[in-house]
């Protein structure tokens, strides 16, 4: 506790610091740095909002650009009458159904096909072709198949997700360390034990890597579905506002979608950290916690 440490460059200083004081000082510096980072972030945000407000109606016409205050008014108005939350609920429902469905189907198919070298060889040109399709273009087709209700949008979102998850896991399964598999065989592990003991845990880490990409894409799928044909959801809010030349309304829809995407991303990152600890993954020698 009372062990003394000297810090290089401070040898000429008045007295050697004790370890507790040095730790406290390090802690203070870290806190100060974090505060400065957040302060600068807020300054940038404020600058954008203020210059948006000031230039609106001067540099650009306000019916094209809208302005900070107009967007704020529209947001508080729509929040208070429930318009935004109702439509957000619709969009989230579509997104989550597509996200979960696409993840489950993509992960299962990725593992099953990836486990068979032969199946992978046979199917790879088709998989690559399907991956390359601009999936947005399937929207009109889905209207014909599923109508314009929830099913169409969730399917579109799921289609976006399924390929991202599938591709990550499919390539991951094929890159599993063969020495690990050989070691398992030597220790007496059968085929199923190898799948359960090596492939599934490895797949968990690829899965979480793909989920961060997949959620925003699911959100795009759902809103695009709403663009194609709908009477509710944030995509509808945006298109509907645009047809009435209500740019503030479009901005509100965009902002709300962005907030949801960021919040979900943070949630996935936190879950990913927990999973990484379970998987014993490290970041530069330290366990990621």
């Amino acid at each position: 506790m009372t062990q003394e440490v000297t810090i290089a460059g401070e040898a000429a200083g008045p007295a050697p610091l004790d370890a507790q004081a040095a730790l406290r000082m390090l802690g203070r510096r870290k806190t100060q740095r974090r505060a400065l980072v957040w302060l600068l972030r807020l300054v940038i945000l404020a600058a954008v909002l203020v210059s948006w407000q000031l230039t609106s109606g001067h540099l650009f016409p306000s019916f094209i650009m809208s302005s900070t205050s107009q967007v704020w008014d529209r947001l508080t108005n729509w929040l208070s009458n429930g318009y935004i939350l109702n439509n957000l609920g619709v969009t989230l429902q579509e997104t989550f159904i597509g996200f979960l469905g696409g993840t489950v189907i993509g992960a299962a198919a990725g593992i099953l096909i990836g486990l068979s070298k032969f199946a992978s060889d046979v199917l790879s040109p088709f998989i690559n072709a399907l991956y390359a399709i601009p999936k947005i273009m399937l929207g009109p087709l889905f209207v014909v198949w599923f109508g314009i209700d929830l099913t169409m949008k969730a399917t579109l979102a799921g289609l976006f997700v399924v390929f991202i998850v599938f591709y990550n896991i499919w390539t991951g399964v094929q890159e599993v360390d063969k020495d690990l598999v050989e070691m398992y065989r030597i220790m007496g592990g059968g085929r199923w034990a190898i799948v359960r003991g090596i492939y599934l845990p490895s797949a968990m880490s690829w899965l979480f890597n793909s989920l961060r990409l997949a959620f925003p894409v699911a959100l795009i799928g759902a809103t695009v579905g709403e663009f194609v044909a709908s009477s509710e959801g944030l995509g509808y809010v945006a298109t509907n506002a645009a047809t009435q030349a209500d740019t503030a309304g479009v901005f509100v829809a965009v902002i709300v979608v962005t907030v949801v995407a960021v919040a979900m991303d943070q949630l996935i990152v936190q879950v990913q950290r927990l999973v990484n600890v379970r998987l014993g993954k490290t970041d530069g020698g330290r366990l990621v916690i």
């Binding site: 845990p201 998987l279 014993g280 020698g285």
Partner: protein, 276 residues
């Protein structure tokens, strides 16, 4: 060191037949199919490992040392010759054989105790039973204080100890080690050699130890087999006898016999080298 091997047999391995070797490779040849045709990796090599005996295989890179272990563990079928394990002709993998390589094959998502317990899990042992056995093994290897650590939190030497524990936890009748300490620095390597020596003293296991380090082979072994040339052929098969205390590896290394063995082995190994 025949008495030592005999003594070790009495101490451990009750299932090991009193007569006959644990592993018997007779005139084994291994060929690989490559683009340029059939390539012989090992030619006509015979190695016998008696119960409790520690046999090292040395030789230059590419002489087929590791290939020979792959044959012994059952991963490769020899093109010619016969492999006998515990008196029976052996085809395929055997669950009583422990196999350690230089490569880190610990599961990153399992902690120390569960990594060590893995072979027991694969054999169907219950959770608490296998953890108890694995914890004991970890204690013996000096890993008692980091049972809950994940491989990424361990140093290279500790990871190699966990691998060793994972191999020994099933009480193998035959231990096959392929340059297990090759990736460690000189100091850690010596510590691991001492650890291996002391563990095998308590629980003798017939061992085949592949290394390119002559000193390591001489210090640890009852017998050293030298392969030479490419394809690898048997160059020398000699028993190691020393006046020094065999458990004191440093003392062993400073005896005149040690230097003699080293010189002899070096001559064999370098004799068949192709001129560059």
């Amino acid at each position: 060191m025949i008495q030592t091997a005999e003594w070790r047999r009495k101490q451990g391995g009750q299932d090991v037949p009193a007569q006959g070797p644990v592993l018997d490779l007779r005139s084994v040849s291994v060929r690989y199919l490559t683009k340029s045709g059939l390539n012989t990796a090992v030619a006509d090599v015979s190695i016998k490992v008696d119960p409790g005996e520690f046999v090292s295989v040395v030789g230059p890179s590419g002489c087929g040392k590791s290939t020979l272990l792959h044959v012994a563990v059952g991963l490769i079928r020899p093109a010619a010759g016969k492999v006998t394990y515990l008196g029976q002709e052996w085809a395929g993998l055997h669950p009583d054989v422990g196999y350690v390589t230089q490569k880190d094959t610990l599961l990153p998502w399992k902690n120390v105790i569960d990594n060590i317990a893995l072979p027991l899990q694969l054999k169907g042992a219950g959770r608490s039973e296998r953890r108890k056995i694995a914890a004991e093994m970890a204690q013996n290897l000096g890993l008692g204080s980091c049972l809950k650590y994940f491989p990424a939190q361990l140093s290279g030497g500790m990871r190699q100890r966990v691998q060793l524990g994972r191999t020994l936890v099933i009480r193998p009748k035959l231990l096959l080690m392929d340059e297990p300490f090759g990736a460690l620095d000189a100091y850690l390597r010596l510590r691991m050699q001492e650890l291996l020596r002391s563990i095998l003293r308590g629980h003798p296991v017939s061992t085949v130890f592949v290394t390119h380090d002559l000193g390591e082979a001489i210090a640890l072994s009852d017998r050293v087999v030298a392969l030479a040339g490419s394809p690898g052929r048997l160059g020398l098969d000699c028993a190691i006898e020393s006046s020094a205390d065999r458990d004191d590896l440093m003392a062993m290394r400073s005896t005149p016999e040690f230097t003699e063995y080293q010189t002899r082995l070096w001559e064999i190994i370098s004799s068949n080298e192709e001129p560059e």
